[in-house]
C-alpha cells in the first residue's frame, strides 16, 4: 500500500509517516501545494492524506485536481478545522473521509485501511488475522468458520484493534472510537474495561489465534504473529 501525505507541518509529517511505516504502509510526503500537485501528476497512490490548509494554496484544489484527472486515489482530509461546512465541502468534492486534528494515529490508520479496502473491486473485503476474519460490510466476525456474536460496542472495539494489529492502543483512543469525542474519557473508561474483558473472553472461547492483551492498565494490544502461527501449521 502506498500513500501520499500532504502536510506542511514537519513534526506532524514525521509522526504520521513513522506510524504508517510501522503498519507497513509506504508513505511519500509533500509539504506544499505545488509539490503535492507534481507528485499526484507523476505517480499513483492508494490513498492521499490531505491537509487542506497549505502555505501556498488551498488543499481542496488538490482534491479538485485529482477528481478532474479522474485519478482513483482515495482521499482523507486531515484538518485543523473541525467544522461541518468544511467537512461537507470536502466530502462533496469527492473526499472519502474527514479527520479533524488532533486525531489518534490508530484512528488514522484504521480510516486509511478502511477507505483503501472499500476501493478494492472484487477483492478481499474482509480483514483477516489467522482464523479470525472481520467483514466490515456486514459487521460480522467469523472465527474458525463460526460466527462470533458481538454486541455493537464490542464489534467497534474489535474493528479498531484489528485495523491496528500488534500495536499498543491507549484506552482513551478506544473509548473515543466507540463514543466519539463528545464524551469525557474518564467517564467511559469503566465501560471500556468491562467491554474489553468480555471481548477477550469471547475471542479466547472461540479459540481465535489473535490474542487480546491488556497492558499495565495503559491500553490493549491485539497480538497476532503471522510467522509464528504459520510455523505451527
Amino acid at each position: 500500500m502506498k500513500i501520499l501525505l500532504i502536510e506542511d507541518d514537519d513534526a506532524l509529517q514525521h509522526t504520521i509517516k513513522e506510524a504508517l511505516a510501522r503498519s507497513e504502509i509506504r508513505v511519500e510526503c509533500a509539504s506544499t501545494y505545488r509539490a503535492a500537485l507534481s507528485k499526484i501528476n507523476d505517480y499513483d497512490y492508494d490513498c492521499v492524506l490531505l491537509d487542506i490548509m497549505l502555505p501556498d494554496g488551498d488543499g481542496l484544489s488538490v482534491l479538485a485536481s485529482l477528481k478532474r484527472h479522474k485519478k482513483a486515489e482515495s482521499v482523507i482530509i486531515i484538518s485543523a478545522k473541525d467544522s461541518i461546512e468544511d467537512k461537507v465541502r470536502g466530502l462533496e468534492l469527492g473526499a472519502d473521509d474527514y479527520l479533524a486534528k488532533p486525531f489518534h494515529l490508530a484512528e488514522l490508520i484504521a480510516r486509511v485501511k478502511s477507505v483503501v479496502r472499500r476501493k478494492q473491486v472484487g477483492g478481499h473485503t474482509s480483514i483477516d488475522l489467522g482464523n479470525l476474519s472481520l467483514h466490515p460490510n456486514e459487521r460480522r466476525v467469523v472465527v474458525n468458520d463460526a460466527d462470533l456474536k458481538l454486541n455493537r460496542k464490542e464489534y467497534d472495539l474489535l474493528y479498531y484493534l484489528v485495523s491496528n494489529p500488534n500495536r499498543l492502543i491507549n484506552k482513551t483512543a478506544l473509548a473515543e472510537s466507540v463514543w466519539g469525542d463528545h464524551i469525557d474519557q474518564a467517564d467511559s473508561l469503566d465501560f471500556i474495561y468491562s467491554q474489553m474483558k468480555n471481548l477477550r473472553k469471547k475471542l479466547k472461547d472461540a479459540q481465535a489465534q489473535a490474542e487480546l492483551k491488556a497492558v499495565y492498565g495503559f491500553g490493549y494490544k491485539l497480538i497476532y504473529n503471522e510467522i509464528a502461527e504459520d510455523s505451527k501449521l
Binding site: D82, I84, H104, L105, L168, T172, W179, I183, S194
Partner: protein, 424 residues
Amino acid sequence: MKLVHYTHRGISAVAFVLMLAWGALFYFTIINEVMDETDDALANTRAQLVKMTLQHPEQITHNACALHSYTIRPLTYLEGMNYEDRFYDSLRYIEIENEYEPVRVMSSSFKAPDGNFYEMKIMQSTLERDDMVEAILICLAILFVVVWLCVALGTRLVLNRVFRPLNRLLHWLDNVLPGKPVPELENDTQIHEFNRLNEAALSMTKRSEKAYVEQKEFIENAAHELQTPLAVIRGKLELLADSEELNEEQLQYIDQLFGQLNRVVHLNKSLLLLSRINNGQFTESAPIELNRMLHNSVQMMQDIYDEKSVSVVWDEAGICIINMDESLARVLFDNLIKNAFVYTPQGGTIQLTIRPDEVRISNSGEEPLDEDRIFTRFYHKNSKNKESNGLGLSIVKSVAELYGISLTYSYQMGMHVFVLNNVN
C-alpha cells in the same frame, strides 16, 4: 422616572412656589392699599365732623348719630390728655337686619370749646372691601390653576420635542447587540449636546464591536493553531507507547500524559465550539424530534454510567419538535443528560419530562448550585468531577440562546431541575 416627568415636576414645583409667593405679595399689597384709602376717608370724615361739632356744640350733647356712623362720648380730663387716635377693625350690630357687619373704626378725641374732652368713633362698613378680597382670591386661584396647567402642558410638549433625539438614540442602543453588526444610526438633530451624544454612542459601539470581533477571532485562531501541535504530541506519545522496551512505570507516565492531553484537546474543542456558536456559524436548522434524541442520549449515558445504577423516569406527554441545527441539538442535550448522569449520586434518580413546548431534566443532588453562575465558563465550585472542563453548561446556554430557547435552573425538593422552554 422619565426625564420628561422629572423635569416637569421640577418646573411645576418652582412655578408653584413662585406663584404662591407672588399671589401673597399681590394680595397683601392690594389690601394695604385699600386699608389706607379707608383710613384716609375716615380721617377726612372725622375732620369734617369735628369741625361741624365745634361749630354746633349742641350736637355733642345730642349725641346725634342719625346715620349710626359715628358716636361721641365724653372723656375725663385725664383720659383726654392721654388719648391716642387709632384705627381698627370691628363689628357693628345692625338692628334691622339683625346681624353684625364688619366695620373699620377710627377712634379719636377732641376738645370742645367748653374745655371738655370727647371721644369720637367713626365707623365705615368694610363689606365692599371683603367682597373685593374674595374677588381677588378667586381671580388668583383661577390664574394659579391656568398658569400651572399651561406650565405642565408646555413643558411636556417642549420636552417631548426636545428629547425626541434622545429617545431615538436610546431605542437604537437597545438594538445594539454584541456579535451583531452595529445598526445605522439615523438621528439628525440641531441640538449640539445630542449630536455629541450620538457621535459618542456610535464610536463607542463600533469600538466595542471591533473588540468583540477581535476577541472572538483570537479565541478561534488560537484554538485552531493549537490543533496541529496537539496532533503532533498525541502522535508522538502513541509512537512512544508502542515501543517495545518500555516498563510498567514508564507506560504509566505516558498514560497520565495521554489523560492530561485529552483534557487539553477537549478544552480546545469546547472553546472552538463555543466561539463558533457565538459567531453564529451554525445557520442550518431542521425540525428535530427531541423525544428520540433524548432516548438515544440517555441510552448512551446509561451504558457509560452503568456502574452508577441511576434510575431514569420518563414522563412524556406529546412529541416535542424544535427547529435547530442537528449537531447543536445533540451537543445541547448530550451535555445536559451527561451533566445529569455525572452529578447524580450513586443510585440516584434522573427524571425526564417532555411536553410539546417544554423539556425538563431533573436529577437528584445534595445541595443547590449557584444559579447565577452555573452557566458561566469555568465555573466548577462544587464540582467533584476533575474531568469536567467547566464549559459544558456554558455551551448549553450558548446553544439555547442561539435558538431563543429559555433555559433555567432551579433546585426543587432535592433535585437539580433544568427547564427548556421552546419559544422559537
